[in-house]
């Protein structure tokens, strides 16, 4: 039988994860796999893009192990994107004019930065922040610039601001909303975050609506605001959110959402059963997932479904993803999980704020105080993992939930990992469960490095590392006890 053809459009983080799962499941042997990668280099770590400014090279950020494509017989076409898809003839026309036939097509086209339709947005020196090329452009523009401004005070906007700050520019962040990271944090957390970021030397302007960009008097550009104020800068970086890269799908006639995104089902299938969409281009349940972990899960689900189609093995489904995040923005710990804004009816909040140490913590609990619904941590996020596990596993809260965020006056309150169910996902990035970790330990992974290699846990954002350590220590204690009994 002639080998089936699988075309993957996009070699970003999620596209690459898809290939890894494909290879891990041996499915690449059953398909002639072609990958179209519009960017001039294969997949790299976009999450840690700002490290580029502190001297990391594009090679350092590369996510593709050496020889990956050759070893697994996957054809990678770098610098070649998809121009057109014909669902009827099952062909993809590439940007270099090649016509590729497919039996299965995977769209992992990701997203593009949203640039608000401002007059002047295309002036030279007005840039976006998403790809290594964007960063190279920022660095080049930064050579002679003195002042940089980022439009957008969300997660990526603050990352971009860090980059401008790192290259020694006077840096401003403009945010339309009344606070920074409006999606993830509440007013209290936003206020503290702002203060901390301003202390690092970045000027923050919230509630600012830019109306146009024109010639500046002192610097290259002048940004005019709706309230009549203005700001001048040499370099403008747009980071006002992302939009799914769905134009290929839209043109091909695949179903897309009203506000963009390729509609997928629980198996990541689009409206055409031969076509999958994963990652930030995909719309599931009316929602775009702009984080890497849900994208990775989609990659896994899509590969699973491909295998299911071949051998009928049971398949997993994409059932939405937790959007909890913990990150370090310009050296400031910020974490947000669950219902951070307490929008659940009847939800109650506990707040703790220490203005001297600059720490803000909020817990959102259910009306009866028994369940943790969400929270916000700014300035210090040690408790993040504990709280996340409590929430995700719907574990009962202590009588006094506030002790979870109050500074430990006595012994610190730690999550008893051993109490978690085996199904609890400890590593959200790589989707590793407690059960899988315990199995790995039982199989002889006796230190963190071994666990990382074996399970992939703690290799992404690293925030689960303390939990993994605790599991390791618990197993050592157990082993010690057993050894003593033997003696």
């Amino acid at each position: 039988m002639k080998q089936q053809r699988l075309v993957v459009v996009g070699n970003g983080m999620v596209g690459q994860k898809y290939l890894e799962h494909l290879v891990a499941g041996g499915l690449h042997q059953h398909y002639q796999v072609t990958v179209l990668c519009a960017e001039p280099r294969p997949a790299y770590d976009r999450v840690h893009l700002s490290a580029f400014f502190t001297g990391r090279s594009s090679e350092d950020l590369c996510l593709v192990p050496a020889g990956f494509f050759e070893r697994h017989g996957i054809e990678l076409r770098v610098g070649e994107g998809a121009e057109h898809i014909d669902l009827n003839s099952k062909t993809v026309l590439t940007s270099k004019g090649a016509m590729l036939g497919y039996d299965k097509l995977v769209l992992a086209t990701g997203s593009y930065p949203f640039v608000p339709p401002l007059p002047g947005r295309e002036r030279p020196g007005c840039l976006t922040y998403r790809t290594i090329e964007d960063l190279q452009a920022i660095m080049a523009a930064g050579r002679d610039a003195e002042v940089g401004v980022v439009i957008g005070g969300g997660l990526l906007g603050l990352e971009a601001a860090k980059s401008l700050h790192d290259i020694g520019l006077q840096t401003h962040v403009l945010e339309f909303a009344p606070r920074l990271m409006a999606v993830q944090v509440d007013d209290g957390g936003g206020r503290l975050l702002r203060r901390k970021i301003e202390q690092l030397g970045v000027s923050v302007h919230t509630g600012m609506s830019t109306t146009e960009i024109v010639d500046g008097e002192f610097y290259r550009h002048r940004l005019n605001f709706a309230d009549g104020q203005h700001l001048e800068a040499d370099l403008v970086v747009f980071s006002a959110g992302i939009r799914p890269q769905d134009s290929l799908a839209r043109d091909a006639g695949l179903a897309v959402g009203e506000r963009g995104g390729i509609i997928i089902d629980d198996h990541c299938r689009t409206s055409d059963p031969a076509v999958y969409a994963i990652g930030e281009c995909a719309l599931w349940g009316g929602r775009i997932y702009g984080l890497v972990a849900p994208g990775y899960e989609m990659a896994r689900v899509a590969v699973d479904h491909l295998r299911h189609a071949r051998d009928g093995t049971p398949t997993r489904q994409f059932t939405g993803a937790d959007m909890s995040t913990k990150l370090k923005l310009m050296g400031v710990d910020v974490a947000s999980f669950g219902d951070a804004h307490a929008s659940t009816p009847g939800a109650c909040c506990y707040r703790y704020e220490d203005e001297r140490k600059q720490i803000y913590k909020k817990l959102v609990v259910s009306e009866d105080g028994r369940q943790l619904l969400g929270g916000v941590l700014v300035g210090e996020a040690r408790e993040y993992n504990t709280l996340l596990q409590l929430m995700l596993n719907a574990m009962p809260l202590p009588e006094t939930p506030e002790q979870l965020i109050l500074p430990a006056l006595g012994a610190p309150l730690n999550l008893d990992v051993t109490q978690l169910p085996d199904s609890a996902i400890l590593c959200q990035c790589q989707n590793v469960s407690k059960g899988a970790l315990c199995q790995a330990i039982a199989d002889g992974c006796c230190d963190l490095a071994a666990i990382k290699t074996c399970t992939g846990a703690a290799t992404g954002c690293g925030s689960c590392e303390p939990l993994v350590r605790t599991l390791l220590e618990a197993s050592e204690t157990l082993a010690g006890a057993l050894a003593e009994m033997d003696a």
């Binding site: 502190t54 006077q170 000027s203 610097y219």
Partner: protein, 898 residues
């Protein structure tokens, strides 16, 4: 037990020296004088290490003469003084007195300074005497004269404590004036509402605890303060009565300020600081009556230094904020006796006792007092011009005292050439091997700190005694004596002093001479100190001038609203801003800034001898923003070449975001004796302020490029390595250790036979044991020479730069006998016990290393500088490493969180 004064910075701390038996420096105990009003018992790291710098190794102990072939011959004082006197006489007879010049130093005591100034201006009849204070303070002097009619610092250190806002401009106070900084910080701990603002392009240790740091572009200070002046006027923060009654020039100064800095946006652009930050600073200044603006070399060392000074003083005059506790402009000097030198007139453009050369009445007054045959009529050559005149042959005889211009002057390679062209070069110094003394025909052995006797005046007009507590070594003599001897040989009368006490008495009488409304009234008046007997002079306790009557001390000037222009008013001076003289361009795109580091002083001729001062920053370095380094294609920790149109040097690159983009910072200390090519003076543009003549040390266009090398080595040796310029490696630095010398080397080409190379390099006679380890398959090599169990020398050579821990190797040299583990460690190139490696020095007072502090933080969960101090002592003496300890705690916390 002797109460004396520290010889380093201009804070002028009181020191108590207690000498052990037999007067050996090694038994000397140094502590802060608890009763001295500058420091109340505190001492910084350099002061604390004074005893380590007093050894006699390398000291010049008798006069030296150099013959035509460059041979150095020991001579008697008579021979040497005769040669100086006859040489001078011949040159004066042939070319006139203007062919003779003196270049002296803020290290001289007031008495030395007085005598040499008297000889030059009253007997030789030239004003060609300048001082290295020209390099550091002359812009402040010129600014003070324009504003106040006299070179006056009105306030005192206590004002910094009492102020509600202290603005530190161009001053890394934490490192360069540590005791003043500590007093400031202590006062802030007592009154947390006190605010501190730092204006400095660099984010220095001083910024750590500041409420606001304005990282202004180099040379933009005048825009900043003109903007402030405009802001103050616009917001009605003007003391109209004071301005009307006691000042002049306000309208003109305001017009100039408005014209150049009338809009915040213009100031923001010129200074490279966001508008909002300017507003914060201006509002803070406007709303705080008790404000002191401290300024130092960042202000003075500029081609517009004098204007910078006046732009600052203008703001204090407009608001009437001076003359009362906790307010006023405050110039903080670099050297222990910079102010003393100014008092005696040791600058080419001043006469004596705060009197001016270009005023006939002043000249008459001084000549009458001195009864001198002549009096200089025209200002002499200022430092940079003076060496230029030596270069082009106008100056033929030059006497340099207690300073090292081949290292410290701008365009320093040209200065070296100029010295070579002098027909007579006399150098008075402690050491005959300084870069400058190496060119001298006559080297006169001078007395050093602890040997010489006299007075100094610190930054707050406080006059205090520096006293001898050690015998004069060898044939060394005080500078005043040598000057008087030459004067006598020239046939001059009026130089028959027997002691510094007599000179001081004359100086005090001159200050009071016709100092009233019938003569020339001036603030500098120490008539109350005239007529002291020797005993009273010796027991003189620190006091602040004016001292009109015995026992007086004047804490503050200007309280009476009286200034020293003829109309008794102060002047606001219009200061139209000017950019630095040489702008960066495509060829030299970066701005080179120079300055001091924490543990070294000037050209290291003294501090370079103390091992505990050597380990904080052991190598010459250049600091640069990491992104700039990326653009220049150079990497952190590697060797780079720094070049300007005037010269070049080699240093190690330290990437830090504390250094703003497009700028470089290089310390001023290294010289040809301790590094292959690290004299930053050679690069500095010879551009000066038109009024003060002070060079623009803070702004020279420069570039950085890689300095490629093929191998790196570190050598520890109990005796100095002998290499000549011809066979020296491409890069070397010599670092003083405790009982050993350490060398960092790097070179080009392959070392074919490392064993032979190391033997030749170390030149160790016949040790009982040689250890050689040649790593198979690598070019890594190490060798160690032992005598029994005692380590004599070791060398590690590698194509890579990651050589063994220096602190650990240094510790091995402290041991009388190596253990078996030590020998294994030597072969491995690392300590067998990791706890043995204290890491790079952070606290020099107690020699506490980085690793020791980090371990203590981690193991004990320490969260504050105080806790670290209690645990490992670091930071508990002088406190100047506290900012670094704070940073280590923060890093440790970050690492823990990650």
């Amino acid at each position: 037990m002797t109460c004396t004064t520290c010889p380093y910075c201009g804070v002028g701390c009181g020191v108590i020296a207690t000498v052990g038996k037999a007067g050996e420096p090694s038994r000397l105990h140094i502590q802060g004088d608890p009763e001295h009003p500058a420091n109340y018992g505190r001492l910084c790291v350099k002061g604390s290490a004074l005893a380590d710098t007093l050894g006699l190794e390398g000291r010049c102990l008798q006069p030296l003469l150099r013959d035509g072939e460059g041979r150095t011959l020991a001579a008697s004082w008579d021979q040497a003084l005769d040669r100086v006197a006859t040489g001078m006489r011949r040159i004066i007879d042939q070319h006139g007195p203007e062919a003779v010049a003196f270049y002296v130093s803020g290290q001289l005591l007031t008495e030395d300074y007085y005598v040499v100034n008297k000889l030059v201006k009253g007997w030789l009849g030239t004003a060609n005497i300048d001082t290295n204070s020209r390099l550091c303070m002359s812009s402040a002097v010129a600014g003070h004269k324009r504003a106040f009619g006299e070179d006056l610092v009105g306030g005192n250190y206590r004002d910094l404590e009492e102020a509600d806002l202290v603005v530190l401009v161009g001053s890394n106070t934490a490192w360069c004036h540590p005791i003043v900084y500590q007093r400031l910080m202590q006062s802030r701990r007592e009154r947390p509402e006190k605010r501190i603002v730092v204006v400095d392009p660099r984010r220095t240790a001083t910024c750590e605890q500041a409420d606001l740091h304005l990282s202004v572009k180099a040379g933009s200070d005048v825009w900043l303060f003109n903007g402030l002046l405009t802001y103050l006027e616009e917001h009605g923060v003007v003391d109209t009565e004071f301005v009307a009654k006691h000042t002049g020039g306000a309208a003109e100064a305001l017009a100039a300020a408005r014209a150049s800095a009338g809009r915040l946006e213009v100031v923001a652009k010129a200074c490279g600081v966001p508008v909002a930050m300017l507003q914060t600073f201006y509002a803070m200044f406007a709303s705080t009556r008790k404000v002191v603006t401290v300024f130092s070399q960042g202000v003075n060392q500029s081609s517009s230094g004098t204007d910078k000074v006046n732009s600052i003083i203008n703001c204090h005059l407009l608001t009437g904020r001076l003359g009362e506790p906790g307010m006023g402009p405050f110039s903080i000097t670099g050297q222990p006796n910079a102010m003393g030198g100014r008092e005696v007139g040791g600058l080419a453009n001043t006469l004596a006792a705060h009197l001016e050369l270009n005023d006939a009445q002043h000249r008459q007054l001084v000549q009458d007092f001195w009864q001198s045959p002549v009096i200089a009529r025209e200002p002499g050559l200022k430092a940079v011009d003076l060496f230029e005149a030596a270069h082009d042959g106008r100056i033929k005889a030059l006497w340099v005292m207690a300073t090292n211009p081949v290292v410290s002057l701008p365009d320093a390679d040209r200065v070296r050439e100029a010295l070579g062209r002098c027909e007579l070069l006399v150098v008075s110094d402690l050491f005959a091997d300084t870069d400058t003394a190496a060119a001298a025909q006559v080297v006169l052995p001078a007395l050093g700190w602890g040997e010489k006797d006299g007075t100094v005046t610190n930054s707050e007009r406080c006059l205090s005694r520096q006293k001898a507590f050690l015998p004069p070594p060898g044939a060394a003599k005080p500078d005043w004596w040598a000057v008087c001897e030459v004067a006598r040989r020239l046939g001059f009368e009026g130089f028959d002093y027997q002691s510094p006490h007599q000179i001081f008495d004359e100086h005090a009488r001159l200050s009071a001479w016709r100092n009233d409304q019938h003569g020339v009234q001036r603030a500098f008046h120490i008539g109350g100190l005239a007529g002291l007997d020797t005993d009273a002079y010796d027991r003189l306790r620190p006091c602040q001038w004016p001292v009109l009557r015995r026992g007086d001390s004047t804490a503050r000037l200007f309280h009476d609203r009286r200034f020293f222009h003829a109309d008794a008013r102060a002047r606001l001076v219009p200061t139209p801003p000017r950019a630095p003289a040489n702008a960066p361009d495509d060829e030299f795109p970066l701005v080179l800034n120079t300055g001091r580091i924490r543990d070294q002083w000037h050209t290291m001729t003294r501090t370079g001898r103390a091992s505990r001062l050597a380990n904080h920053l052991p190598e010459p370095f250049v600091e640069m923003h990491p992104y700039e380094a990326m653009l220049c294609g150079v990497q952190d920790g590697t060797l780079v070449r720094v070049a300007s149109r005037w010269g070049a040097m080699v240093a190690r690159l330290r990437c830090t975001a504390d250094q703003p983009r497009r700028t470089l910072f290089v310390p001023i200390h290294w010289n040809d004796l301790n590094a292959s090519d690290a004299r930053v003076g050679a690069l500095v543009n010879p551009v000066v302020d038109p009024l003060s003549g002070e060079p623009e040390f803070k702004h020279t266009p420069a570039l950085v490029s890689p300095f490629p090398v093929d191998w790196h080595a570190v050598v520890f040796s109990r005796s100095p390595l002998q290499f000549t310029k011809a066979d020296a490696p491409a890069y070397w630095v010599r670092i003083q250790g405790d009982g050993f010398l350490r060398y960092e080397l790097a070179g080009r080409g392959l070392i074919e036979d490392p064993q032979q190379w190391s033997r030749a390099l170390l030149g160790v006679g016949q040790p009982s044991t040689w250890l050689d380890v040649h790593q198979d398959g690598t070019q890594d090599y190490c060798a160690a020479a032992l005598d029994a169990d005692c380590l004599l020398a070791c060398v590690y050579l590698s194509p890579r730069a990651d050589l063994p821990s220096r602190s650990w190797l240094g510790r091995l040299f402290e041991k009388q006998a190596l253990s078996e583990a030590d020998v294994v460690g030597l072969k491995l190139g690392r300590s067998v016990d990791p706890a043995d490696d204290a890491g790079a020095t952070v606290c020099s007072c107690f020699s506490v290393g980085r690793n020791t502090i980090l371990d203590a933080i981690r193991d004990n969960g320490l969260t504050s500088v105080e806790e670290v101090g209690r645990c490992v002592r670091a930071g508990t003496n002088c406190g100047s490493c506290q900012p670094e300890i704070r940073a280590l705690i923060a890093n440790a916390r970050l690492a823990e969180n990650a």
